[in-house]
Symmetry: C2
Subunit: 456 residues, 2 copies
């Protein structure tokens, strides 16, 4: 069941417009790596030049969009906006193909016969094309480009530096699970990290752990077992989301939630509960998750699946079924969930039923190398120690110029979020380090471009 | 007209079997970067394990096949065979998709509707897959892999290190014109280098330069102008080939030729000739080119085009029409040819007529970066100073670990050819340097793999 998790890496309700940008469109080929298909289509990008010192070749801050409409990333990646003035940078947020309005075949794009060109390699090639266009098609690019991204977007930021270092001077890759493909990390690590956040609150993880059996027996006696698995999945997904967005401030990033949402939810589970009082505690906890900030409380319709599911991110399920295979499991021992082993055979068959493709489980490893990054340079990987996706990170710096920053008390790419008075020193320090790296990358790009290169 | 040049980068007559290998097959997806097409097919590779110290993780020497049947590259890349014992290396030569017997759609592969998956990116991904298979699908590869290639194969050797550094420890890229895409180098440089080889011989280039007008006027009075352009193209192509394979030993590499073929040809053109004596000199020169080593001399059928054209390399014309656009022109002033400007519009239209595609003239630059190699590592680019393809090289080393070796008195990737008693010190020195680099890359791969890496 844990496959559905992947869908929730990045989905949005309530996009608030904090920042100003122009919406633009850029034409790309459907297939960058073959000539058989001749179609082109347009991807969306958001642009702001208010801070840009164009005449003196100010940098371009380029967000490598991930699985969702790009406006959401623009509005929640406050870090880029907040440092743009200091760097006199142009800001660009590029939308990932097949998401938002960047659909090659319109509303039919996610159908079996049209979805095949939704891959990370094609998306990276879109961004490479767009960056070249922003550089005015110059053989020797003039503006230092810094890539930014969080989560799958962080993977893309790292990957574009790895694959296109001639186009990108450096990359800030936040909460990027680049080491989570089959065979890399233990599949239960993700849920152990989720559990750790709940364990910080007395009895909370214990109560949740006990609740599964209770819910199953209660449900089967009351409603029959028809929807019980959906309910269990809904609850699991809720706890994972709470751990991911366990920010020190209220946010609508994935779904509207209060500051420190795990602690808020756990206040209803902070005693040793059993039977109906345990069910009641779980219900109150979920009520926070489902109804926070709503004027009138609504009954939770868990049968709908992820409550923040929207059409625009539907493509992720296909990506998870093809190249983005990231095994997740639970043991019921080291985590607070029911035991659920990673079953690749079933996973594959489910994918085949839905999309008529089997996963290429080695595709991302072969293409990007996992953590074999000895040849890479100018990348910062940042991971929040509260963030379950840190399961796909790695703990020590690879080389002088591939740095790993671990951020205590930080959930999913907190370092990219808008700053808040509630931010503690770990995330503030991380942002300072990011800036030091960015400055260094820009300086070395500029030093290099001063040289006059002589050709034969 | 210079477009046809590209076809002659690498074509073969007379494949002699000097070396022993097993012929094997490896299954690859038709499309590595999309899921729309589900076909797979097999590429051929040649393997020799006679020298391999498998138990102690001896290296794998991997030739990234270029536009032709792989046996030819195996037989002429003597350098790999000659150093294999010293390195206790396994030898692999991989055939490029759409060439030789590695055709995804059999005999129909080069037809318009099937040829679209013939791109360098797909070929590199084939090789990445194959290397992973040779590493037994291990997440942490155990055998250091060194890529080798000459000409377009040299580009691929460099590119596989650039794009897949987690799979390839280093690359020897011989005579690789990686800096020859539109906007990079001057289009007349290629033919100036051709001319320089003929200039070394008294009157030779001057006589050739004078011959064009004479041939045109003679032909129009005798035969009419019907085939005159074919004849001119044939002669131009012959001179280019002679310059490319101007080796110190007799070779059948492109076509059977004596040692120092430019000097041999020029012996008929080493006086100031005019009129019929000039035509006679040209005829004798071409007779060497066309009939060397043949038991009975044959009349040259220039209407056939390149005399060493064969079916197996037919794909190169498509590659030149899509991503491998390398502008070549002649001025008639700084070179010994008729003036022929680079006309991209005409080039594009010709391509469209043939393949129903327009060139993507920026594709290779965006994908591989031209000479913007500051982030690359562990690559040696070697260029022979007699080789016209050095026009697409660059003269100074990029960084500590991207080295450029210029080889005096050397034609097209002489350093990869089997050694010969006629070899002079420049090419011997180059081979020594290659070995130093290879040793260094292997050592650092091994040092790295001793570390125990701890994951979260």
């Amino acid at each position: 069941m844990w496959r559905y998790l992947l869908l929730s890496m990045f989905l949005f309700v309530n996009v608030n417009t904090h920042y100003l940008y122009q919406t633009k469109w850029f034409e790309v080929p459907l297939d960058h790596f073959g000539l058989g298909r001749k179609e082109t289509f347009k991807i969306k990008y958001l642009e702001n030049e208010d801070y840009w010192n164009k005449n003196e070749y100010g940098p371009i801050f380029f967000y490598t969009g991930n699985e969702g409409q790009i406006e959401a990333f623009a509005n929640y990646t406050g870090f880029m906006w907040e440092i743009a003035a200091e760097y006199q940078a142009k800001i660009v947020f590029a939308e990932h193909r097949y998401y938002g309005e960047s659909k090659p075949f319109g509303n039919k794009s996610l159908e079996k016969e049209y979805i095949g060109y939704l891959t990370s390699a094609q998306a990276l090639a879109d961004y490479a094309d767009l960056i070249n266009y922003l550089q005015k098609d110059e053989i020797k690019p003039r503006y230092p480009v810094i890539a930014f991204g969080g989560s799958y977007g962080g993977m893309l930021a790292a990957y574009i530096r790895i694959k296109y270092p001639h186009l990108v001077a450096g990359a800030i890759a936040a909460s990027a699970p680049i080491h989570m493909f089959p065979g890399m990390t233990k599949c239960d690590l993700f849920n152990r990290i989720v559990t750790a956040s709940f364990k910080r609150n007395f009895y909370c993880s214990e109560n949740i752990q006990k609740s599964w059996h209770l819910i199953r027996s209660y449900s089967s006696s009351v409603n029959g077992s028809e929807y019980i698995n959906s309910l269990i999945e809904y609850l699991e997904s809720a706890y994972v989301t709470l751990a991911m967005v366990n920010y020190p401030f209220a946010s609508s990033f994935l779904t509207p939630l209060p500051a420190q949402p795990v602690a808020v939810v756990c206040q209803y589970l902070n005693q040793n509960l059993a039977n109906e009082s345990l069910l009641e505690g779980i219900a109150k906890a979920i009520d926070v998750y489902a109804n926070y900030g709503k004027k009138t409380k609504q009954c939770v319709d868990y049968k709908e699946g992820d409550n923040y599911q929207n059409l625009d991110a539907g493509g992720w399920d296909f990506q998870a079924c093809t190249e983005m295979v990231m095994p997740v499991c639970s043991t019921g021992q080291n985590d607070m969930f029911e035991a659920s082993p990673w079953n690749f055979t079933k996973y594959s068959e489910d994918c085949y039923k839905k999309y008529n493709v089997y996963p290429r489980e080695n595709m991302a490893r072969l293409e990007y190398g996992g953590d074999l990054l000895q040849a890479a340079s100018n990348i910062v990987f940042s991971y929040g120690l509260l963030d379950p996706w840190t399961a796909g990170g790695f703990i020590s710096s690879v080389s002088d110029s591939v740095d790993v920053i671990l951020i205590a008390d930080a959930a999913h790419h907190l370092d990219l979020m808008p700053s808040s008075p509630d931010d503690q020193s770990p995330v503030k320090d991380a942002r300072e380090k990011h800036k030091q790296h960015i400055s260094k990358w820009i300086d070395s790009f500029r030093a290099r471009n001063k040289h006059v290169v002589t050709y034969l």
